[in-house]
Symmetry: C2
Subunit: 526 residues, 2 copies
């Protein structure tokens, strides 16, 4: 069985090997001549700086609580750049004191009661793939310790309703197990965030996760039919309904609550039949803004592509597709019901009208072959590559947002400009690229990747400076601080500027109602 | 210029005339042999029972406040059955004491300040088309009077963003004025609730209005890009964003807040280009459940028809389409971008596979002619017909819900059974029909119409008994108390059962935060 990496992404066995790191070193070396490209070895468990646990599991909970060193290290950080760097450096000073693994709501209540008696903070934990410090024990307030509650034992597919294409599933289930369970029924949730392999249904709901499809049913918000949340005050369960206009939606208060109000113990989710018709095509653009214009028109056409991913030329090259001179639009349609030629043909027409050059693809299965397929495989491997880049001493991180089309051109220019400036100041230069992850009739969700030469020992500080500038720019120029990465602890400064102040008061009142002691994931959102 | 009816729907000039009432009398007489079918004359303004206003407008607000008799009568009720009956009977005992018509946020603040000083309740008022007592001055608490705030002067189209297809519009604008303004730009909000002519953007948002299209972008929830709400504590304005994952959505807290938290002073809404491609076809079914099965499969096909309205045989007949032996499915597609034959052909295939018989239509414009067109015209006229039925002494009302497909068959049977029983007990029988107003991949929104012989003077009591039974049945059988009519005062008993108790506490805390005196639309929601 594969071993989860405590400092990096995914499985230790899947990390870049020496040969791959060698190739990467060469590639990056060409880009940043000056960068120091020695490769930092992953830390040994025995070398970590990790304090003794401040809490001792009570006998009654001993069977579901662990204070084991590796377990605590594993649950300290998410998977952001600053998490990986600190992990690589063996810095686990803020490790949680214990990891609880309840498998029933009663056990969850017992853990909450225990934490309450101890005056400990409680951090709900799904797959640990947060890139915004969402599960890191870093908070204000006078807490005796941290109980991180790993929901992995809430992993059952409880019921499948074929007629409504819906399923009742526990919140701690991981992506692959969820899809395996549904595959047996010919169904799929079809929600594939990049973290899919290492994230959970409850985590997706708590963070308003975005799947990797471009339009329509891709956000977990829209795939949620009803949910059950266990708060410190008790359970809140909404009704299974296809639609309802009965007052403000209770679900929408918990979607995005990021563990600050309670645990998603189960949810009814909307499924789809597994697609049997698929078309994927690639379109090239000489000008990124022409590509954006094509995407705008497609997003407003009512065709609803499952993929409409505009990737700028440098990012395409970085991912091994293209030579860096052409911007790439990957256009895909999927259906379980009907052939898609009329949809694809019209979308390609629109792309060509906007100046695109449609690539001919002779491959049989474009999801596995061709530029579109190449890119997809890289997408899945990207977090492993980032770990390798970090080991090579680089600053490598992403940030994402959304903006209306009318502002996009200036916004994008402003963001690129600011990022180039700040990375020049902080790192002496950077590789900055952009793609669209999601599209809407009223705007795209641009996703930026920053790769820059770092200074060993200063990488976190360097990124924090860059991140601060990015956050300010996103907010100043009218974007959102996060489109699908959530707020966590890292985005709080931007979020606090973006959120209407009276709504912040509403959230505080909500928190006080459901979590009067404020023990749930302190310092997140509120 | 046409005169708004103070007791009935829409314009006085558009009400059924004597000849139309005669025809209706004949039709209904055949159905209910025993019913007393004299026609009650509309009340004269001079005959109304309406108390003297308890509040006197201060000089500073005299220019925007009216205490005029007709104005107060006009703002007393919404347009539910029990509203029309009470209006016809001249019972205006709960009339608001004054009507304020601010045209700026400052004037709105002045009105709120005045009401606060007076200890008066404040009722936000859009088009007054509520069918759930949403704007009726009927509440608990010790208030010195009621200031109903008619938002009609917040009626400007402020800005149009063609690139993002969005517009910034004030909350008090009526449907037709909004569409007239957008038509000049080749755009449309394409939100057409049955109340369209007599309802406002702010009202739609406050009540989570459903447009008359069947699938995808039809709910105002999804058409809203951002909004500005003036609460007694101040303004809350969200950012214009195509999508955002930054914490729980502020907009979703105000969508469905029904005037209990504040006024929607303006909103950015998502628009569409005006459709140029349109296809409409009618399909007949011998069995209503076969029709439902066709709709289920279409709803899960990813074709997203703009119309997919299943109308049971009796309702189709009542609307002058068909002989009462066949159930009617109206299937429509619209696009501003592409011809729709592949979409329609596949949808018709699905309908036929489920047992439907596709009707040939030789008419050029199926929106104006043919069974589909006939039905649409009747739909617009329906509220006028209901007024006429009520004048003829009938009990005539609708209720609506949503339910997942797995439960639909039993649910529908249970609802029909209960309604038939209770109407037999209360009225000696009834004409009960059903149609689907909206469809989702996981379930339909069934809409029921009840027409029964009433007893003059007892009609409200009769309906209240029937409504009570309907509400209990909807909730007992797992439906929602309202899919798009809102909660108001009339649905509170069902809503209180449906809503998770801890979420009710959250709403109370939210209300206390934004409206500490509890003056906004008291007894609604909270």
């Amino acid at each position: 069985m594969a071993t989860r990496s405590f400092w990096g992404w995914g499985y230790e066995e899947a990390a870049f090997d020496d040969q791959q790191i060698g190739q990467l070193r060469q590639l990056v070396g060409m880009q940043f001549g000056k960068a120091e490209l020695t490769c930092q070895a992953p830390p040994l468990l025995s070398d970590l700086t990790i304090p003794e646990p401040r809490l001792t599991p009570p006998d009654s909970l001993a069977s579901i609580i662990s204070t084991e060193r590796r377990d605590r290290a594993n649950h300290t950080y998410g998977k952001s750049f600053r998490d990986i760097v600190r992990g690589l450096n063996g810095d686990y000073r803020c490790a949680p004191d214990m990891i609880a693994r309840p498998s029933t709501e009663q056990e969850l209540i017992d853990v909450l009661d225990y934490a309450s008696r101890q005056g400990a903070a409680v951090i709900p934990y799904g797959g640990g793939s947060s890139v915004v410090g969402g599960t890191e024990p870093r908070y204000e307030g006078n807490w005796s310790g941290t109980v991180t509650v790993d929901m992995e034992r809430f992993n059952r597919l409880l019921e499948v309703d074929h007629q409504s294409r819906a399923a009742h599933i526990e919140g701690g289930i991981y992506g692959p197990a969820l899809e395996d369970g549904l595959r047996a029924h010919g169904l799929t949730l079809r929600h594939f965030p990049q973290s899919f392999e290492f994230s959970t249904l409850g985590g997706w709901i708590a963070t308003r996760s975005g799947g990797h499809f471009a339009s329509l049913y891709t956000h977990i918000d829209d795939l949620l039919e009803s949910m059950r949340v266990l708060t410190p005050r008790g359970a809140v369960e909404s009704r299974r309904l296809p639609g309802s206009g009965a007052g403000p939606s209770p679900d929408r208060m918990f979607l995005g609550s990021e563990g600050a109000l309670g645990f998603v113990t189960s949810a009814w989710v909307r499924l789809q039949h597994r697609p049997v018709h698929r078309l994927t095509r690639a379109v090239h653009f000489d000008d990124f803004l022409e590509g954006a214009e094509a995407v705008r028109r497609i997003s407003q056409s009512g065709l609803f592509p499952t993929n409409c991913r505009l990737i700028d030329a440098r990012e395409a090259m970085m991912n091994g597709v293209g030579t860096g001179s052409k911007h790439l639009l990957i256009l895909g349609f999927e259906s379980a019901d009907h052939p898609l030629e009329p949809w694809m043909n019209r979308a390609l027409d629109i792309a060509m009208e906007a100046g695109g050059e449609v690539q001919t693809s002779k491959e049989k299965n474009p999801n596995e072959h061709g530029q579109a397929g190449d890119w997809r495989n890289q997408f899945i491997r990207a977090p492993y590559m980032r770990d390798a880049l970090i080991r090579l001493g680089l600053v490598a991180e992403t940030f994402e947002t959304a903006i209306t089309w009318d502002k996009f051109e200036d916004f994008h220019a402003g963001v690129m400009d600011r990022v180039r400036k700040v990375t020049r100041e902080v790192c002496g230069g950077a590789f900055v690229t952009c793609r669209f992850t999601h599209i809407y009739p009223d705007g795209p969700a641009p996703y930026y990747t920053v790769i820059a030469p770092g200074r060993r020992g200063d990488q976190v500080k360097q990124w924090d400076e860059i991140k601060q500038a990015c956050m300010e720019t996103l907010i100043d120029l009218g974007g959102t601080i996060t489109h699908h990465h959530a707020v966590g602890r890292d985005h709080r400064p931007g979020y606090d500027r973006q959120r209407p102040e009276l709504f912040a008061e509403v959230l505080r009142a909500t928190k006080k109602t459901l979590d009067p002691e404020g023990m749930m994931n302190p310092s997140v959102l509120i």
